[in-house]
Subunit: 653 residues, 2 copies
């Protein structure tokens, strides 16, 4: 693993875990536990040591099998694997920013549920960060917002050892971190990381400072305690070697020939931690029960907000709201659905990276979240897409909210690391991405997404919806609100998309099969071709189908709002929708990179494998061929040039 | 467009352009011109106004056709479209960070070529940034590095109007920006943006401060001069409306009924700018000629560094270097190639986001770039992947260097916006991404790339190399060093990959066709199947081929180190390598998302469409099926279950 930080930061983390952190190792899901995030995730063994010593269910056998298949002590901490791991970390800066999301959730929970004499939400957020965390841009974004909002629940330890992989931080990192954080509204204290009393006092002062987030800069030394290698970048990610380990143990007064031993004094230091935590939790349970009795309405709201249940008529309500805006841009349709969702389902909160009015993601009457006012539903992330993603994930991880985060689709680029972590943690975050094609128009290629849908679809476990109309937009939100299994993206148009007639009985359930026949081929017999389209191109495909029908060419149109859900369907459904021996064309206003799997090598992928241009959307639609006429023409040519139909192609695996 | 900023920042930008900026509008390619970057790219019309008024070849007709197809006055400034646009901007923070790259290139050029009495490199870097730029994490990363390195050539104007799309910056941005920048080593001055003398003095002080970058915080008002809407977020990106425009002109004392008119006093203010710039350039040309005469060796080096020529035996040298490490990890092979490249081609500089030793990207004897020492070739970006990408692009845009930027493949996520801009600008930046699969091993899923190769391949114009052996690694670098057409990524293994026998005469040229037969099917006749593989999986595919040959199954192995180059080949080559009627399997240790286009719907894509695990690489290779045995077994099953061979499939389009 990474011995350098585990040795160097052991002292300050020991102080935090043994003296300040509130938890009950027997109940890692206790709602009012403090959250600890190891932002410097490569120091995983240090966290596992704390978890083991504190009495969590992480036996020595897991610790011994560190970084081996099946061990809960994975190379980097993974949420869901070892108990007590709140956030999956490793990519630097993410723990820092996700922790800000946890703290924001905690403030929003407190505003909703705490009442005079009943402080049932009292947890704090701690993290351990390293020099690398401090250099990452996402940290700066999250810190700025945390300072702006005055998230005093945050007390972060900064393991300032001034050594990174390439050597001293002097090679690349000379700034005054404390002053930078003060400029962003943080309370900052600097201490000797090996002076336990000073660390404890600084952490306590950080906890006591409730109007500002706190950063405790702990001066440390990488590889502390290793007689030869201490202070060297060589300890960062390489084993110390048997001899150095032996001498390190000797220097600590431990038996040099023993491994995986908890020295008596260490065990003693943690002796009361578990029982103290259990007593604290039991006390909270009593106070929580008293609060429930005193405020049954709040208790019901609490349960609803922490549960996954949705109203039985949710889909009907969402579809009805969506239909109010049928024929408008799907971002406008989404806005109507969002208003209905806010009324129907508890815990819907979210916002945009300064594009709320454009993204159509403002909840009317939802109230704004601001410094000192956390009862609202509308968040303002500022122009900080990356931190927005991580913070939204952190809010989702609280289990108490259904957060969404919005920006233009092209700027999903800025958030990719947060998107990946959402998928890895199965966090139920909803990413709303509007302005989803070249049809952004005049703002030009920097603002016109091309490759982004496939960037998102390629993330394992991410569901990407690109709805074509009101019903599909409602269905996408329905999937998201049910917290059906991890994160999703909803790609929405800037421009109006014409409403089209849906087949009878083709509602939310069909949409959530991911792909379905939205306009069957006219007449009987196998279709001459199948067009698989998404989003704003479905109406164009239907237009092309109608033009071709007039020429005697029988085309079926399949809408595929969520390829990932389609792939999860049984082969019978998939083969029914896209017959294995059919000529398949795909149509989407973006890169065709992944459509070849649907169209097959001899199919036709109509898309845009180049950057866009600055011009009105309708000019570009003609230039790029996204009109019914142009699509019909291409289909005709393709069919004409096509060799004798393929026979015997096998069904989908 | 975006009238709010164009009105609000016109005054300070006018001061900069009319009084300080050094340029010759007749020669936008003059080597010693100052570089101006409009980081707040949505204010494009303000830049076009300056370019037009200053005499650049941007006639009123282009201005009138703002944001229309074919106009050089695109929605956001695009490098290569309007003269005088140094960097394509729009995505916030990018202009700021790319400008840091330009300034770094300028320092490195000065260190190489300036001599006492001959300061031939004297240009400065200016930018106009807005509140949005200041919130973006990439700005913080770039600013921190610029402060650390003391890049005094930088003088940035910050248009601090304190209004963003969602309203006042009070909703999300309350920090003390000046203090934050001071903490990062910047010289900061705050002025009234409408006090021309104060702005000029502050800019001059910024220019005079050569040991620190400078930020001039210009207090402004969005929509300044619009009688009703000034100060309102409504002016950000929406038209003012005819009536407000009329009243704005009236308030300025202009004819309300006239449009596209340059008032006399405005024209007068710019009258001497073009001629002054031409005289300054002529003077520089003389000094440059004198320097060339005094230092012919340096002049030759200058020409070489600014040209695209490479030694005639470059490929031989790179291959010879690569072969020294044949059979080792391709990152190690790449290291050897890089050493040879540094010796063979001028202007090779680069570094890593604190992973140099792991990425194997340190140039031996190249010297380190550090504050006060810019003659070296090794850059230290710190843990700042995003700014690294943008800065490397800025260095590439200088035209004087061949920069590379390195990190783990999984962290390409952090740099996506910079990768996209590199492709959009056709910047010849080389992105080196090591640890390119699950074979990262113990560090687990946060560090194991899955979807990343397709994220990169889906960017229009990006070339993605995943070399399989020494020759392919040398070929990838050969392509990069020739600045053959935009950026490229080189994905490299952490782990050793066995060397394999290459067919006779199969060298760099064949590799640069993107895909080629690396192991033909044994015997005569059409192959039973073709395996298309990349990188570390090519050797596995060859192993499977040999196992299958022993069972009488005749398999061809195609190596496809660069799918984009393969797709550029004539159909004859592509059909020769992958016969249209062949059974095709693909093999790559990552997401299969785009391979369906090669394998076809009834093909077999062997990959990894799930997150990885924390375990030793060889354990994971067995679990995930990346062994010759497992691949042979899957091919056998697939062939057995396959229906009668497809007939009549058409050739590649």
């Amino acid at each position: 693993g990474h011995p350098g930080m585990c040795l160097g930061a052991a002292d300050p983390l020991f102080v935090l875990w043994s003296r300040l952190l509130r938890f009950d190792p027997a109940r890692p899901d206790w709602a009012d536990r403090d959250r600890f995030v190891l932002s410097a995730g490569h120091g995983s063994m240090l966290l596992y040591s704390m978890l083991h010593l504190a009495g969590y269910d992480l036996p020595m056998d897991d610790v011994k099998r560190f970084r081996q298949r099946g061990s809960r002590a994975a190379g980097h901490p993974e949420r869901g694997l070892a108990p007590g791991v709140e956030v999956t970390t490793g990519p630097l800066g993410q723990g820092f920013a996700h922790g800000v999301g946890l703290a924001l959730a905690r403030r929003m929970l407190a505003a909703r549920f705490n009442r005079p004499g009943h402080e049932v939400v009292s947890w704090r957020v701690f993290a351990l960060c390293g020099d690398g965390d401090m250099m990452e841009g996402v940290t700066c974004e999250a810190a700025s917002l945390a300072g702006h909002l005055g998230l005093g629940e945050i007390t972060y330890l900064y393991d300032s050892n001034r050594v990174t992989i390439e050597g001293s931080t002097d090679v690349a990192f000379g700034e005054d971190v404390a002053r930078r954080f003060e400029a962003m509204g943080w309370h900052v204290a600097a201490v000797d990381g090996y002076d336990h009393e000073a660390v404890a006092a600084a952490l306590a002062a950080g906890v006591a400072e409730v109007s500002r987030p706190s950063l405790v800069v702990a001066g440390t030394e990488i590889g502390h305690g290793a007689p030869t290698l201490h202070g060297s970048a060589r300890t960062h990610g390489s084993p110390l070697g048997a001899e150095e380990i032996r001498r390190t143990k000797e220097a600590a007064g431990w038996a040099a020939d023993q491994s995986f031993v908890v020295p008596e004094d260490v065990g003693a230091a943690f002796a009361g931690v578990a029982s103290g935590g259990a007593a604290r939790r039991a006390d909270w349970e009593k106070r929580f029960a008293a609060w429930r009795e005193a405020h049954p309405d709040l208790a019901a709201a609490w349960d609803a907000q922490h549960g996954d249940a949705v109203p039985g008529d949710l889909d009907e309500r969402l579809v009805a709201a969506a239909r109010e805006a049928a024929g408008k841009a799907t971002r406008v349709v989404s806005n109507r659905v969002l208003q209905a969702a806010f009324k129907a389902v508890p815990g819907v909160v979210g916002g945009s990276a300064d594009l709320g009015p454009s993204n159509e993601t403002v909840i009317s009457g939802g109230g704004d979240v601001a410094r000192g006012a956390f009862g609202g539903a509308n968040l303002h992330f500022g122009v900080r897409e990356h931190a927005m993603g991580s913070i939204a994930n952190g809010i989702a991880l609280s289990g108490a909210f259904r957060p969404y985060a919005a920006t233009f689709l092209v700027f999903s680029d800025y958030m990719k690391p947060a998107l990946r972590l959402a998928a890895l943690m199965k966090a139920a975050t909803t990413f709303v991405y509007t302005h989803d094609s070249y049809a952004v128009g005049e703002d030009g290629p920097t603002h016109q997404p091309i490759e982004h849908l496939w960037m998102l679809r390629s993330i394992p476990g991410m569901k990407v919806f690109r709805p074509a109309d009101a019903v599909e937009t409602a269905a996408a939100w329905s999937w998201a609100l049910r917290r059906s299994g991890g994160p999703c993206c909803i790609a929405l148009t800037r421009q109006a998309v014409p409403a089209f007639a849906r087949p009878d009985g083709c509602g939310v359930a069909e949409v959530l099969r991911g792909g379905y026949v939205v306009a069957p081929e006219p007449g009987d017999g196998a279709p001459d071709a199948v067009i698989v389209a998404t989003g704003s191109e479905v109406a164009i495909a239907i237009g092309a189908r109608d033009l071709l029908a007039a020429k005697g060419v029988r085309v079926r149109v399949v809408s595929m709002p969520c390829l990932e859900l389609f792939r999860e369907q049984p082969a019978t459904w998939r083969d029914e929708v896209v017959p294995p021996d059919a000529r398949v064309a795909t149509l989407e206003a973006g890169a065709t990179v992944g459509w070849g799997a649907i169209a097959s090598r001899d199919g036709l992928c109509i898309g845009l494998d180049r950057f866009g241009e600055s011009a009105p959307a309708e000019v570009l639609a003609r230039e790029f061929g996204f009109t019914a006429d142009a699509v019909a023409e291409r289909i005709l040519t393709w069919i004409r040039d096509w060799p004798p139909p393929r026979r015997g192609a096998r069904a989908s695996p």
